[in-house]
């Protein structure tokens, strides 16, 4: 996918914050990047990670638009208030963490927003990293809005204990997974640990689900994060190839 465009081909996008309807019909904001290339486009809803609705996620949203997707990243921490991303994350922690049920509703709202766009091809995938990977798996089990899931190192898909904000361990819903899934994991990660990933895979296999797992040596948690020491260049580039191949096949 890297450098695979023609130099004489038109490309363009617009990227902006918009309001959408999320959980329970409530208005939240979202970062929306849409392709300006003529024709119909698939969509991707991005679920931000624990460090927040942050610059990495805005840049990643634009990355999908650069590659021909209408991409939206709902602000799943909207209800915690507004400030800098790190201030909002701190407020969300003080409130006990974001609730799974609002995330599911907000991400479904993002999918409905994308499908309502005049240049939508009607298919939408979901992408998340870290806690967003866990939320991605949860959403793809609870919702029928999605045609493909990319779960990147979802921490807590297999939860050691439930909490008021996270009342169900997502892996217990595996039989309800409603779309093909791509999973990317680092073998040095501790949560999900390699044993967690083994269990995750066994449960998908037992349920007869369409899944594809890739596990990287020399990588831990968050190996896409070029702003952090967790970044692993080779594994990251290979992971993005896998993602665009997978979405290209399932969202066309």
């Amino acid at each position: 996918m890297w450098n695979q465009w023609r130099t004489d081909a038109y490309n363009g996008m617009t990227a902006e914050t918009v309001d959408i309807k999320g959980y329970n019909g409530e208005t939240i904001n979202a970062y929306y990047a849409r392709s300006l290339v003529p024709g119909n486009h698939p969509g991707v809803v991005l679920i931000n990670h624990a460090p927040g609705w942050d610059e990495f996620y805005r840049e990643t949203t634009r990355r999908f638009a650069e590659h021909g997707y209408n991409a939206i990243c709902p602000n799943i921490f909207y209800r915690a208030g507004h400030g800098t991303p790190e201030e909002v994350v701190a407020a969300q922690r003080a409130a006990g963490g974001v609730k799974d049920e609002t995330v599911v509703g907000d991400i479904e709202g993002g999918a409905k927003f994308l499908k309502s766009q005049p240049n939508s091809n009607g298919k939408v995938g979901v992408f998340g990293t870290c806690s967003g990977g866990r939320h991605g798996f949860l959403v793809a089990c609870k919702s029928k809005e999605f045609a493909a899931l990319v779960e990147c190192w979802g921490g807590g898909v297999i939860q050691p204990e439930t909490t008021p904000a996270q009342p169900v361990s997502p892996n217990t819903l595996t039989k309800d997974l409603s779309c093909p899934m791509l999973g990317l994991f680092g073998n040095d990660d501790q949560r999900p640990s390699p044993d967690n990933v083994n269990q995750h895979e066994e449960e998908l296999k037992a349920a007869g689900k369409n899944y594809e797992f890739h596990r990287y040596d020399g990588a831990g948690h968050g190996f896409f994060y070029y702003h952090a020491p967790a970044y692993r260049q080779q594994q990251c580039m290979d992971g993005w190839e896998k993602i665009f191949t997978f979405f290209g096949k399932n969202l066309a």
Partner: protein, 94 residues
């Protein structure tokens, strides 16, 4: 690693944030992904007063070793002054 760990404690005292001193009411402690510290995970400590708005916050992101040293230092300071009476809680800036 996603820990989702969140501990909290009620606070009395003051903190100096971006806009000056303010009374504290809460501290949260989590070991998770930092926003700024260049480590994969850090001890995230926020002194806050949610009633005064989201920006009323003093934040640190510490390595685990630093967090242990801080705990030891606080404990040592408390123990070395055991004979002193606790002052009345401080609510508002003076």
């Amino acid at each position: 690693m996603c820990t989702y760990s969140i501990e909290s404690a009620e606070m009395s005292g003051c903190g100096k944030g971006a806009e000056g001193w303010f009374p504290l009411s809460l501290a949260t402690v989590a070991f998770d992904h930092p926003s700024h510290a260049q480590v994969d995970h850090a001890m995230l400590i926020d002194f806050m007063n949610p009633d005064l708005g989201i920006g009323s916050r003093v934040a640190v992101e510490l390595t685990r070793d630093s967090a242990r040293e801080l705990v030891k230092a606080i404990q040592a300071a408390l123990e070395s002054t055991m004979d002193l009476e606790d002052p009345a809680p401080v609510g508002a800036p003076v």
